[in-house]
Structure formats: C-alpha cells, structure tokens
Symmetry: C2
Subunit: 174 residues, 2 copies
C-alpha cells in the first residue's frame, strides 16, 4: 500500500479505534440505530476462543495513534479449520481483536486493561460489498459503544490489501 | 528482588531458555533420564487452552538473552477458576508459556516461530520443595528436548518472589 493510501487508511482507522469521549459518544449515537437490526454483536464468550496470535503496535508505528496497543486475536470454532488450512473462511466465522493497553517495564511489554474489541463476521452474501465480511468495534469492549459507522472506509479499505488471505491479516502460527 | 539476586536468577533462567545447540544437546541428554518417570510432559492440546495474557520481552530487558520473545501464556481448564478468582491453584493445574520469536516491522511487533515451551504443573505434595509446582521447558516446543535439570535454580528462585500469587507471575486480565 502506498504512503498516501496508508495515511488515508490511518485516518479512517483512527475513527474506528481512538477513544476521545466526545467522539465516541457521537459515534455511539449514530451507530446504535444503524446496528440495532444487525448481527454484528460483541460475542459473549470470546475469551474462551482459540488464540490465533498476538501483535503489539508500539509508539514507533504510524498506526499507534489509531490502534496502538496489544492485539490479542481470537477466532470462533467455525473458522478454526480454515485458519489452520489457510483456506477461505466459511460463513459465520468471527475473527476478533481484543485490544489492550500495555505498559513497558524494564524492557518488558505488559498487558493492561481493554481498550477496544473489534470483530470481522463472515457472511458472503450480506457483506458482499466489503469482501464478504461485516466489521464492528466497541470502545472498551462495551457493547453499548459501537465505533464503526462506515465499514468500507474505517475497515475494508485497509483489509482489501489482504485479498489473497480472504481479507484477514492474521495467519496461523502453529 | 535485588540486582544481585536478579543477575543470579537471570543466569539460571538463561540455562533454562537459551538455545545454543551444544548446550541444548547436553541438557537434553542430562534431562531425559531425570524426566522419564516424571509427569512433566509437554501437553498436546495447549493451543486450545484458555489464553491468560501475553508479554513481550524486548532487547531492552535484562531478561532478553535468557528469555526474550513473545510469551503467550495459557492455562488448562483445571486452573481457570482459580486464575479468575485469584485463589491458590488446585493440583493438576498447568500454566504454560508458549514462547515465540518476534520481528519488529515499522513499530509493530509480529509473532514468529516457536522458541520454547515452558510449563508449571501443580502437585502440592510431589513438588513441595518448589512451592508445590513442577517446572519443565522444551527447546522449540520439542518434547524430546527438555531444558530444565535443576528446577530450583532455573525456575523456582525467581518464582519465589510471587509467593503471594501462588508463585505465578501472570494474573487474570478479564
């Protein structure tokens, strides 16, 4: 992805993940109505899902402001086999990022409290315009605080770069 | 822990986790006989266990040489409730560190291949001299390459500092 596309994507991701109270409040109001009839809900049991991998976005990253933190990635059982085989994901697959703060202590990066939770839900038909994936994120992992109002701009424009992996950045690490 | 104790612990941990081929080979030969009648075995299914948290030990850490990498911590179902309640762990609890290499790309820390796998197995009676925990680690997560020959020096001397948490460093992050 070129730097211009990257900077643009960054701005949009910032709208999805950063958490200044006023902005989040506005987005929440805008999003609740859009989301009410939707199936993009925060899964209750994700902490017991399969842990795919972890990534840390540190201060040195151009993505830090937008989505800095420790990204613990989980997948529901529907998608586990496809993940391991590197195949396209079946409908009802959910990939979830549990984004946490971190502190650095003497060179160790330690996981802190939850900052946000984001999901991708596969439904080839329903979300055909965004690669077959529906996107949503919640401030602080709070189901009453959805953050995504424009999934194309806030999510898919960046995920598009991973079309070869069914639009998923994470890969299986045995 | 004072710096002298820390430096000492670091040397011992280095013996548990670092992987120069010759050393590992020696340790493996020494350890296989000690371990053969033991219950400290590499669990087959740990990648499906509950993900407790993740920690990254970076170059800036005095522990980097000994155990640098991305530490994904898992717990078996026996210990899950105690973890969440912050209570002492029941016998047969296993805590496991799946230690991976990482690469840094533009400020993002990305998980790489497995470097080692380490466990703590609770058996209050059997491992009374080391806080009720048995310790073992395997180079590259290979069950034929155990690394711990002296659990007191290589493991317990450092875990002793967490007596208030039943000798476990990790805590529950909801």
């Amino acid at each position: 992805m070129g730097m211009i596309g990257y900077a643009k994507a960054r701005k949009e991701i910032a709208r999805a993940f950063r958490l200044p109270a006023a902005t989040v409040g506005m987005l929440a109001i805008l999003a609740i109505s859009a989301e009410s009839a939707d199936d993009l809900k925060l899964p209750a049991s994700f902490r017991n899902w399969y842990h795919v991998n972890t990534m840390v976005i540190d201060k040195g990253s151009p993505l830090f402001e937008a989505m800095g933190g420790m990204h613990n990635v989980y997948i529901n059982s529907t998608g586990e086999t496809a993940l391991k085989k590197g195949e396209p994901y079946p409908d009802k697959t959910v990939l979830l990022i549990d984004l946490h703060e971190f502190t650095i202590s003497d060179g160790s990066y330690l996981e802190g409290p939850r900052k946000a939770t984001a999901i991708m839900l596969k439904d080839k038909k329903k979300y055909a315009s965004t690669g077959g994936w529906g996107f949503q994120a919640w401030a602080g992992g709070d189901p009453t605080k959805p953050l995504v109002t424009d999934p194309t701009k806030q999510c898919f424009e960046c995920h598009q770069a991973r079309k070869d992996q069914d639009y998923v950045y994470s890969t299986y690490i045995p």
